[in-house]
């Protein structure tokens, strides 16, 4: 008998099935794409076009001073849309600060989704009602939330999966590690979607990790890792749908890395020319998620004028609605600052509120 037969050392999980295929999974343009449901492709197409338009409109709103800031997901719409569509109504989405589009694609009111970035409050929608967590500004901190929620649902016997989104940069945070580890140990029904868009603000992936891929991190937690072409909306949708189904069936968490590209600057406040070339951007634009899908649709004779038109109309309607409603000044009540700190305001908060009210009255009178 050797040391390794002792009770404390047992061969644990087999690593091989957890390892990602180093070649990102793709569907569009491959023979398998032929099996894809035209209705699904049509829906994905509509959502992509709508998403692109939403990004464009939101960016325009920053120029008009209607938004404080907007981190655009232009170029990443395939991931945003697929994440939203992979979930059932009872499931929860945990977006990062860049994922307003996923929130909108999940059905949250587009104006409410922008509350944070407009600056009238921190979160504009009701997370419980929409089953969408607040957009998370501190990177990766939303990941343990997703794990805890999924775990809570599981121990409550409820059929709920959580899908959490994070960027390539966010994978370097300790919270990423702790969340994945808890998820694996607890076998929580959660899917982690890393959008590897090549940059964390100005920092390229090579300064962020030396790993073969971010998906390879999965094996270190004992969960499967999958690598997918993040601009191939059909592929992302399929990989996420499988991961959600696996979680739902009690199969535990999955880590998905989607390789994509942030076509615009980090936010409207950023100058991306300081850290990357126009050529690089152009190369990625040649592999635009909408273009890839259009090519597929066209190849299968599905890209008719009706589809195009419907997509364009829906996108314009969304943008027009957004434009109109964002022109309205938001209803602001400074006294609300004190309303939600606690269930009941403390005596000190009541005094501070009274002081502010007196000031506001004095202001109005002068």
């Amino acid at each position: 008998m050797t040391v390794l037969d002792t009770p404390a050392w047992r061969p644990r999980t087999d690593a091989a099935p957890l390892m990602p295929d180093p070649e990102p999974f793709r569907l569009l343009g491959t023979p398998e794409a032929a099996r894809l449901d035209p209705a699904l492709l049509g829906e994905l197409y509509g959502q992509l076009v709508r998403g692109r338009r939403y990004n464009r409109q939101a960016t325009a709103l920053t120029r008009q001073g209607r938004l404080a800031v907007y981190p655009s997901s232009t170029g990443q719409e395939a991931c945003e849309v697929a994440a939203a569509l992979a979930l059932g109504a009872q499931d929860w989405l945990f977006p990062s600060y860049r994922d307003t589009l996923a929130v909108v694609a999940r059905g949250v009111d587009p104006v409410e989704a922008l509350t944070l970035l407009r600056g009238d409050w921190h979160t504009g929608y009701d997370p419980r009602a929409t089953r969408v967590a607040p957009l998370s500004t501190p990177l990766s901190t939303q990941l343990p939330h997703a794990v805890g929620l999924a775990h809570a649902a599981r121990v409550s016997g409820d059929d709920v999966v959580a899908l959490a989104m994070v960027g390539d940069g966010g994978t370097s945070e300790g919270d990423f590690h702790e969340a994945l580890n808890f998820a694996a140990v607890w076998h929580a029904p959660v899917v982690f979607l890393v959008q590897n868009n090549g940059f964390a603000i100005s920092v390229p992936l090579a300064k962020q990790t030396a790993a073969p891929s971010l998906a390879h991190k999965a094996v270190g937690y004992g969960m499967p890792g999958r690598l997918v072409d993040g601009n191939d909306v059909a592929a992302v949708h399929q990989v996420l749908t499988e991961a959600v189904a696996r979680a739902r069936a009690g199969g535990g968490p999955t880590l998905v890395e989607a390789i994509t590209y942030r076509v615009e600057a980090h936010t409207n406040a950023d100058d991306a020319t300081r850290y990357r070339t126009d050529d690089e951007v152009a190369a990625w634009q040649a592999h635009d998620p909408i273009a890839l899908l259009e090519r597929e649709l066209a190849g299968r004779g599905l890209l008719d004028d009706a589809l195009r038109q419907r997509a364009a109309d829906e996108a314009e309607a969304l943008a027009a609605d957004l434009r109109t409603r964002m022109q309205e000044e938001p209803r602001l009540d400074p006294a609300e600052l004190f309303a939600h700190v606690y269930a009941e305001p403390t005596q000190q908060l009541r005094e501070q509120e009274a002081m502010l009210r007196a000031e506001l009255e004095a202001e109005q009178q002068s």
Binding site: H122, R128, A133, A152, A153, S156, G174, A179, H340
Partner: protein, 346 residues
């Protein structure tokens, strides 16, 4: 059944038992047990809280009684513990998190400040977090580095958190029940050197739950008022006893709750004497005593015969075991401060 619905009591309420000698540790354990029995959404989690029952045995027997899903040994990662607890609270559970020692709560600081304290406010009240974070704190037990910190000043400066700390066996039970019942996050600071302090007591069910935010006058006095909390309460009571020899009649206010802060009780007690000393164990500079002293002064200035003085730990990292007695505010140091309350000018 959705976990958001508080569960029905899993067992009948125990018959009121006659008081018997009980340690603070036992009272805390009882509070957890009763809360878990009364409400299925209460979940206990942390390092070693399950099989071992916690390094201070505060969670003893809970995993056996309620199962590992209700009292869970987590992986060793404090940010992960608190972060997953946030998610559980988002779903409607009432997690009670144990941080093994005060200094080991620091890795969870971002989750605490950026999420626990802000989620209700962030979501306009839609997503309150009924979370209790138990943190054993303070020194006096001969702990090596990082085992004796007093971190309450960090928490009380963080809007959105309640911060409470018991000084008696009875309050340990009542305040912990109240913390768990609260729909707001509560940082529950347990004075670890009082874990083994005893009183004749037994739990009442339905629990006598004192509202969070009420200070209590432990002793009325006419000469000066000691304002204190947690581990320093017994020291102040001892000092008040010793002060009689010097001819001083000292009152003692036990804050119990740092946030919300009970200004009325404190101000009334200080106005009655015109002199106050604030006592706590953590470093004085920027400590809780600064807020208390400043606030007393703002409210009671014209009643004060002397400046409000502070007796606190020195402005140094917590000392090694063999030197900690020099750091901790003791009876003599408190009496010295009382002596400096400018009696000649009274």
């Amino acid at each position: 059944m959705s976990a958001a619905t508080p569960g029905v009591a899993a067992r009948p309420a125990p018959a009121p038992a006659p008081p018997k000698p009980t340690t603070m540790a036992q009272a805390l354990n009882q509070a957890l047990r009763d809360a878990m029995a009364a409400d299925r959404s209460v979940h206990v989690m942390g390092e070693d809280v399950g099989t071992l029952g916690g390094v201070f045995r505060i969670t003893d027997g809970l995993a056996a009684e309620f199962g590992e899903d209700r009292c869970t040994d987590t992986p060793l990662a404090e940010a992960g513990i608190l972060g997953t607890a946030v998610g559980m609270a988002m779903y409607g559970l009432r997690p009670v998190v144990e941080m093994q020692f005060d200094a080991f709560a620091y890795p969870a600081f971002e989750q605490l400040v950026s999420h626990v304290a802000r989620m209700r406010n962030r979501t306009r009240g839609a997503l309150p977090l009924p979370l209790t974070i138990r943190i054993p704190f303070g020194g006096g037990i001969g702990g090596v580095e990082h085992h004796s910190d007093s971190s309450e000043a960090y928490y009380l400066h963080t809007p959105g958190l309640h911060v409470v700390t018991p000084a008696t066996v009875e309050d340990a039970y009542g305040l912990l029940r109240a913390a768990i019942a609260s729909d707001d996050p509560v940082v529950f600071m347990e004075p670890k050197r009082l874990y083994w302090s005893k009183a004749d007591w037994s739990a009442q069910e339905p629990a006598q739950v004192p509202p969070i935010g009420r200070a209590v006058v432990r002793r009325t006095g006419r000469s000066a008022t000691l304002v204190t909390y947690g581990p320093s309460v017994p020291v102040c009571l001892e000092a008040a006893e010793a002060a009689k020899e010097e001819g001083w009649d000292l009152g003692v206010v036990d804050l119990r709750s740092l946030v919300p802060f009970d200004e009325e009780t404190v101000a009334a007690a200080v106005r009655a004497t015109g002199r106050a000393v604030v006592v706590h164990e953590s470093s004085g500079f920027g400590g809780a005593g600064a807020e208390i002293a400043a606030r007393i002064t703002e409210r009671c200035f014209h009643h004060l015969s002397a400046p409000v003085l502070r007796v606190a730990g020195f402005d140094i990292p917590y000392p090694p075991p063999m030197l900690e007695r020099h750091h901790l505010p003791g009876v003599d140091r408190i009496l010295d401060a009382v002596g400096r309350l400018q009696w000649e000018e009274a």
